[in-house]
């Protein structure tokens, strides 16, 4: 399939959607679902055509369309016709989801950094609009914070692209690889890659560039938080870091580049710990999830910094897993807020008996995030820890294992406060949310269980993206390159 298909399909639907606006009509919702399902099927069946993206692009496309579909279905049932957030502009909301999907599809299918930058801006503008969609003060404040830090990141990325153009005469991934292997232009490449990595770290929300993450997630409409945490930050920041690591083959280059590896691993490790500790101190459901996201992205970046084929497999796998369990948790958080009217954990309790499906899927997602077997999160964390140990990063491997217990700790506290125990006055009359709101989270939870149980079957397609890296490793070792 031509990679333009994955961009143009949602973009065209986004143009058509506003024309389907009728009072009480759900045509825009249905068109959005259909388009995202078609995109998901196309990504699953073959992904982008030869020379237009690799297996990593195909996996990312499938993840993007899957998460966007889950969020679109949830949004359709979450926002009633008279909901003040989308009143009078429902079609625009679904169009923004589609444009954001188109932007993300462009990011993962492009083969050069400038195009990647262009599509990152598409994602940033549409995300900004979605965060501020409700028009209230909190939403606007979160959106402005997001916009400012996103602008800083974009400036760094653009400077990095310019430095790459000056150094290598091109901006494609291939140009970067060729120039990096040619040792004579090392300072220019180092400058360019450093700027790019800094920009993508801001977009990822890694510590110390995490300032926008909790505020943006907290103030955005609930389904938008799920989309942002589930996939947008991963595509806009983490995917690009993985792509740079796969292009540069950091462990092979050594020398000055080992400093980049060390910096990435350090910031990844700091994010794991600080994100987990900060999550323990929160009382707002969404803020816990926001800091948890920072911590989990730390795992991915730690593996990216190591850069070995096994570490990259772990990073890609954890990126996919984190998308599924974070979207589940954010959507469940939205369901709880809808049912009880609050996200304050100190005012909740005993929801497990009132909302069994929400509680059950949340438990699956919590345990998967903490890395408990046999759920999917266990395998990805295991791969990352094994890769760190094999790479001689014993301290980081130990820290990754210990931080998992922190993750388990804050999620157990959340589970106990919200779902266990006796009901409180606020939750006595609460009932489970409708099936339309449960369907996306049940689907995501089922994926976590099935991928965990059938892990060997999914390992091969996951290893495929780093197959080219393994081939290059042997080529360089054998002196062919």
């Amino acid at each position: 399939m031509n990679s333009l298909f994955f961009v143009l399909l949602p973009a065209l639907a986004a143009i058509v959607n506003p024309f389907l606006r009728r009072p009480g009509s759900r045509l825009a919702d249905v068109l959005t679902w259909l388009v995202l399902l078609v995109g998901l099927a196309a990504a699953g069946l073959g992904g982008p055509g030869p020379g237009q993206g690799d297996a990593l692009s195909a996996l990312m496309l499938a993840t993007i369309y899957l998460i966007s579909f889950l969020v679109a279905v949830f949004s359709a049932f979450y926002f009633g016709d008279e909901d003040p957030t989308v009143a009078g502009k429902r079609a625009s909301f679904f169009s923004l989801i589609l444009v954001c999907t188109a932007g993300m599809a462009g990011v993962v299918t492009t083969q050069d950094f400038f195009t990647l930058y262009v599509f990152l801006e598409v994602v940033a503008v549409s995300s900004f609009a979605m965060i501020a969609f409700s028009g209230d003060r909190a939403g606007t404040e979160g959106a402005v914070k997001y916009l400012f830090l996103s602008a800083v990141a974009s400036a760094l990325i653009l400077l990095g692209v310019a430095a790459l153009l000056l150094t290598s005469g091109g901006v494609s991934f291939a140009h970067l690889m060729e120039t990096a292997l040619d040792g004579t232009r090392r300072p220019g490449v180092l400058l360019s890659v450093s700027l790019l990595i800094c920009g993508f770290m801001v977009k990822s929300g890694l510590i110390p560039f995490h300032g926008w993450v909790p505020d943006a997630y907290e103030s955005a409409p609930a389904p938008v938080s799920a989309l942002l945490a589930g996939i947008v930050t991963k595509v806009a920041g983490v995917y690009a870091l993985i792509r740079i690591a796969m292009t540069l083959h950091l462990p092979l280059l050594g020398g000055d580049y080992s400093g980049l590896s060390a910096a990435l691993m350090f910031f990844g490790a700091v994010s794991i710990v600080v994100g987990a500790v900060a999550a323990m101190k929160q009382n707002d459901f969404k803020r816990i999830l926001a800091f948890s996201s920072i911590s989990q992205i730390g795992y991915i970046v730690l593996a990216v910094g190591l850069g070995s084929p096994l570490a990259l497999v772990g990073a890609v796998f954890h990126l996919f897993n984190h998308a599924t369990f974070k979207v589940t948790l954010f959507l469940n958080g939205a369901a709880i807020e809808r049912a009880t009217g609050t996200r304050d954990m100190s005012r909740l309790g005993g929801l497990g008996s009132r909302m069994p499906w929400t509680a059950g899927t949340s438990a699956v997602a919590f345990l998967s995030t903490a890395g408990l077997p046999p759920l999917s999160g266990f395998w990805s964390k295991l791969i990352i820890v094994v890769a760190l140990w094999q790479g001689g990063a014993y301290a980081y491997a130990t820290l990754a294992v210990l931080a998992s217990t922190l993750t388990l700790g804050y999620f157990l506290v959340l589970q106990r406060k919200v779902f266990f125990g006796q009901t409180v006055p606020l939750t006595e009359d609460v009932q489970e949310v409708e099936a339309g709101l449960l369907m996306p989270v049940v689907l995501a939870a089922a994926l976590m269980i099935l991928i965990g149980l059938y892990f060997p079957s999914v390992l091969e397609p996951l290893i495929e993206p780093s197959g080219s890296l393994a081939a290059l490793t042997s080529a360089v070792s054998g002196g062919t390159l």
């Binding site: 961009v7 599509f119 549409s126 900004f128 609009a129 501020a132 209230d136 939403g139």
Partner: protein, 183 residues
């Protein structure tokens, strides 16, 4: 001939951007001028400069200007700002045009380099050839900007805001109004 036409369009819309009293017209004129400049860059065999001009100046900056103008439109501060027409500019441009018309044969070669004769790829092919993905990205960027503006200034069903003493009928979104009122 195309080159000359593009330069005239560029000068004309740049002048409109400076002369127009309506800020929105200025922003749109500036966007058109940037597109003309993009085509001039392509004509002069500088596709990378053209690409950046199209991406940043014609695309993103225009969207940002239009958004910002819409945000402040109707506010008291906006109304108080009276833009004066800068009549010296068209006079200067007319004089420059006349000078080039009369002495163009001597001046033009140094002002307008011919570019790389070997690279005769048509502009359309250059846009839709190696950089088609960027072009689609630009379209998506415009689309997201339009949708963002539609979302902020669309027909929201909200209760009307009460006018208090000192409040201003802004025509802004409730979000902007809340900020101004410090609510």
């Amino acid at each position: 001939m195309t080159h000359l036409l593009l330069l005239i369009i560029l000068a004309l819309f740049s002048m409109v951007a400076v002369m127009a009293k309506d800020l929105l017209r200025s922003a749109v004129a500036l966007g058109v001028a940037s597109v003309a400049l993009t085509l001039v860059f392509y004509e002069m065999s500088a596709p990378w400069a053209a690409l950046f001009e199209l991406s940043v100046c014609a695309g993103l900056i225009t969207v940002l200007f239009v958004s910002a103008i819409n945000l402040v439109r109707g506010s008291e501060a906006f109304l108080l700002e009276e833009r004066h027409r800068f009549w010296a500019l068209p006079c200067f441009l007319v004089a420059l045009g006349a000078g080039l018309w009369l002495f163009g044969d001597h001046v033009a070669p140094s002002l307008m380099p011919a570019g790389d004769a070997a690279d005769s790829t048509p502009v359309g092919s250059m846009l839709w050839g190696p950089r088609r993905f960027d072009l689609v990205g630009q379209i998506c960027m415009f689309l997201s900007g339009v949708l963002a503006i539609a979302a902020f200034f669309g027909p929201a069903k909200r209760p009307p805001l009460e006018k208090g003493p000192g409040s201003v009928s802004t025509g802004c979104t409730p979000a902007t109004f809340d900020y101004q009122e410090g609510k």
